[in-house]
Symmetry: D2
Subunit: 328 residues, 4 copies
């Protein structure tokens, strides 16, 4: 039984608390959040203790592992603190707001046995994982072109966007990790930003983008992002190689098709939003983390994966600004 | 080059005239129809001569083959007449209104080399033909259960239904032939009729039906018929065996899918009606007939196939009336 | 919190125990099974007490509701016993082996407030339930034709089939209930049995069947059953009315499609078997039962529904034997 | 009846000759090709005269319209010659090898009534045309993102690639026109080239590419090209706007799906190659051209469209080389 503490009591903390409650080998001991009301809600719902702060969680001998759901600027501090206290860590993405802020991470972990996994949950989505598995089995030969379509059902509030770090770090970061999952290290980044919704123009951020990544072997991933999609949370990928292609389609609530006078075989809209779409992925992520701690010792996606995705995000922002491909 | 005469100038005659005009090895010489206006229209459109009557076509030495599109009660007379004149014959379904009316056929053809193919065009539909081909290759093992869904977009006029011979001879006859295509000779027929549209009740005919056919080996075909279907001409089949299943789906005008707020991947309605849906089938039927005359000598579906389908239709009518399975 | 006792510790008892463990308003108190080893396994896995027999469960004041997973011949005894003890009951299908055995049910429940729901779980399948919801909203008008395809991935052992009561009571009973769900009371039953697998011939039972049901308004349901299906557990239905059609397709593990040289868009096989396919249905069934007890008082599907399905099964057996439609 | 002459007797000339033979308002008078054998084959197959050279076609008073299927470097000469002779022109893409070679076109046409349509056949594909029609009807709102997947089944011979003008002018030129069809004039071009097949490396050309185009309103088109695709000729597009998305999928020979033990619903491979896939498009293109000549006077896609696509192709080549976005 792995005993968990959670830092943060927001939306994503609820997702992890639910996964823990459903996992036979996991139990939630305590949580902490500076917003007392949020902490109370989460603690009551999952029958957990409330800790005054993260340090109290780190000091708790009844806790084996920490899930970091704090605001991004605190991620490194919490990874380091938990590791130094001997806890395993599952940290939400991105690892930091800037790659220039990573120095304390190296320094903080030096000499310690870091058991840290990054929360790139989409690697654990049953659909994307199956696509990867088929690639891995050689069904299509070596990947030549990967296309990721990733559109949110609706943009978050302007206030959120303003502090989000920008679309590439906030939204595309998941797709950058997915590109690395299939293609490995990325050598060149080209990004084209769009401003589609006039309402969002004042945020100073793009609300849509096309990003092309190339690895050392010349294989590419094309990412198509949009902050909105009328039919729901549009999360697909396709990957092709010399021997075939694989498509991972959207997930729908049912298999029901409706045909009427002017159309046929109309399907349910896509599952909406990431809580529904990636519910299984979060659970499988937690399960993989628990097995890493208890059996395998394989904390993938790793800190290095988190840093790599952040670096790509920064390169994409630069490319979208300058109109030139950025080499890594 | 095979030179054709057509008896009849109705809707189905137009279909065959078009196929002939498109086929590089076929040419239309002359047509005949007691309705002068209809004959004139067809002849002008396809640049053909008008014959006074069927006998004039039979006597024409420039004609090699006759397509019989006359009313069903005249089919036997025209098959016999054309055969005795040395012409090959492609005859529309059904072969006759009653199996009791078949005696003149045997007598008429006795001593002649009958080269007669029945116009069960659906055997030549690229989709159903592919399904058959996959069965024939052993992809699913021996057929165990066949399901045919066959619904018209809308019922014909009541006046037509009244003289049609009933749903089983008029509509299901195609499905009976398709069942025989996949299962061979049928030994038992069970039919359940429905009266769905109150408008059609006065015709004294069913406007929908379920028919179950069983062959000597105990394999079954289930036919689901309806005189109307909101989404168009619903023409599908599925066939299963110990090793797998095959589905032949409806045909649509395009592959385009539309997704909006409340639905996703809505497709075009089904092609409407048999002229569109089975256009390729009619062409391939003609092509098969031409090759039968010029090369293969294989006039399948044969007169025997036409009679077998008619016999099943009569058994279905009896079963629907008595509520008992009819053995053949 | 509804407190449960379960009679029986077999496969289906495990399904219900899992649903209870996942439901926030349910708790499992105790179970009983004459096979000590089975009882012990289930009790340990879900941390429940073991009762000596069903009477001990009925007498337990800490139990509010009983789930009857005992062999079919004991269902009536257990429904009556639980009801007389004031417990609500969720009973597995079928309600009895013979409709002639129902007398003790009426007598046993007379004067008691029977709160009994039958476990026709498929009504709660998200796909079939959505199809029903669309029908109920009038999307296709009044149902005219329903087609249910229901094939198991592989036949059960011959020993099981021999005591199963026959395919209609054992397998089709679910489809009979589904037909009644969409069409209401059934007036005519026509069944055609098949013996496809020579291995199973010695059981004296059909291993495949086509059944056509008609309600008082002349609408029909066609059920296509087979004890085996190469691609998995084939569970579909389609329903059509004057305004459209609805299809509930099979469920697959992922949305991934694979395309290679000779084919495109190949999907995962169907989910296999009922534990996976109907996992959500069992959970929603339990949830509906809990709400019936605590809020709605609506125990649907009811005892009457259970009896109706059994009666249809007996009529189907008779029709398959005599080759004649049976009126109810 | 529009009377045609064709310059060139290669593969694409055969496509046009076939369309003419099937079109009720078109007739082929004469063709010309410096390769006598090729000219003879085409002329015999379609019962046309052979002209010594293009000028002879231009001088023929029995010819109303010229289809230019000559090598690209001769396109301008033939457009000018035919126009000066008073013929309408349907010219294959691209309009020229280099935009720097366009001067003779302007000079040559000055003072003449140019009735010239460019052969961007994909605008007339029933699937892409339907997608456009739905956009035009406002089904998805204003286009925000267009994605074109365009992969050939197999690369042409190295010798052809070497003189093809490069992938952007030879292959992507169709996709550039399709992007303009949906987005109008393009302002920015970003291209990333790939070398996937080592066999083709010596050609000095890319064998795959990702190209992102942006119009003045900031809407983008992403084109994904590859010289090979294992499953066939992969020709799809999807287009999304604020109110929905539209997908135009590949075309397959039949609708048949095969399910076996390890997979379900496997479809036919994509139609292979452009002769099959775009057969209907070529016919509809011809039909549009004939109506332009005889009724509408609307020669779209126009010479300006041909030049625009060529200009984008040159910008893409430059961007792929420099790694910088090129503004037009």
């Amino acid at each position: 039984m792995l005993r968990f503490g959670i830092i943060g009591a927001g939306r994503i903390a609820h997702v992890h608390a639910r996964s823990i409650s459903q996992h036979p080998a996991a139990t939630l001991i305590a949580i902490t959040d500076p917003v007392a009301e949020a902490a109370k809600n989460l603690a009551e719902q999952y029958n957990a203790d409330i800790a005054t702060n993260a340090d109290e969680l780190f000091a708790n001998p009844d806790i084996d592992a920490i899930i970091v759901c704090s605001p991004t600027p605190l991620h490194i501090e919490h990874i380091v603190g938990a590791t130094r206290a001997g806890k395993a860590v599952l940290c939400e993405k991105p690892i930091a707001m800037e790659s220039s802020a990573l120095t304390p991470l190296d320094e903080g972990l030096e000499g310690y046995d870091a058991r840290v996994m990054m929360g790139f949950n989409r690697r654990f989505d049953p659909n994307f994982a199956r696509a990867y598995e088929l690639v891995d089995k050689g069904e299509i030969g070596e990947v030549e072109q990967l296309t990721i379509i990733s559109r949110d059902p609706a943009a978050p509030p302007k206030e959120y966007i303003a502090v989000s770090g920008g679309i590439f770090k906030d939204m595309t970061i998941h797709d950058f990790d997915m590109a690395r999952f299939f293609l490995g290290d990325i050598k060149e980044v080209t990004a084209i930003g769009q401003n589609l919704d006039p309402e969002l123009a004042s945020t100073g951020d793009f609300d849509a983008a096309i990003i092309v990544l190339k690895n050392a072997a010349g294989k590419v991933a094309t990412i198509i992002n949009n902050r909105h999609c009328a039919t729901g949370y549009d999360q697909r990928l396709e990957v092709s190689g010399p021997k075939g292609s694989i498509f991972a389609d959207n997930v729908r609530e049912t298999t029901v098709r409706l045909s009427r006078e002017h159309f046929s075989d109309s399907l349910d809209p896509y599952l909406d939003f990431f809580l529904e779409r990636y519910e299984a992925a979060y659970y499988r992520e937690l399960d993989t983390f628990i097995r890493a701690v208890e059996e395998t010792g394989d904390y993938t996606p790793s800190i290095a994966d988190g840093i790599a995705a952040l670096t790509i995000a920064e390169a994409a922002a630069e490319s979208a600004k300058t109109g030139a491909t950025v080499s890594l």
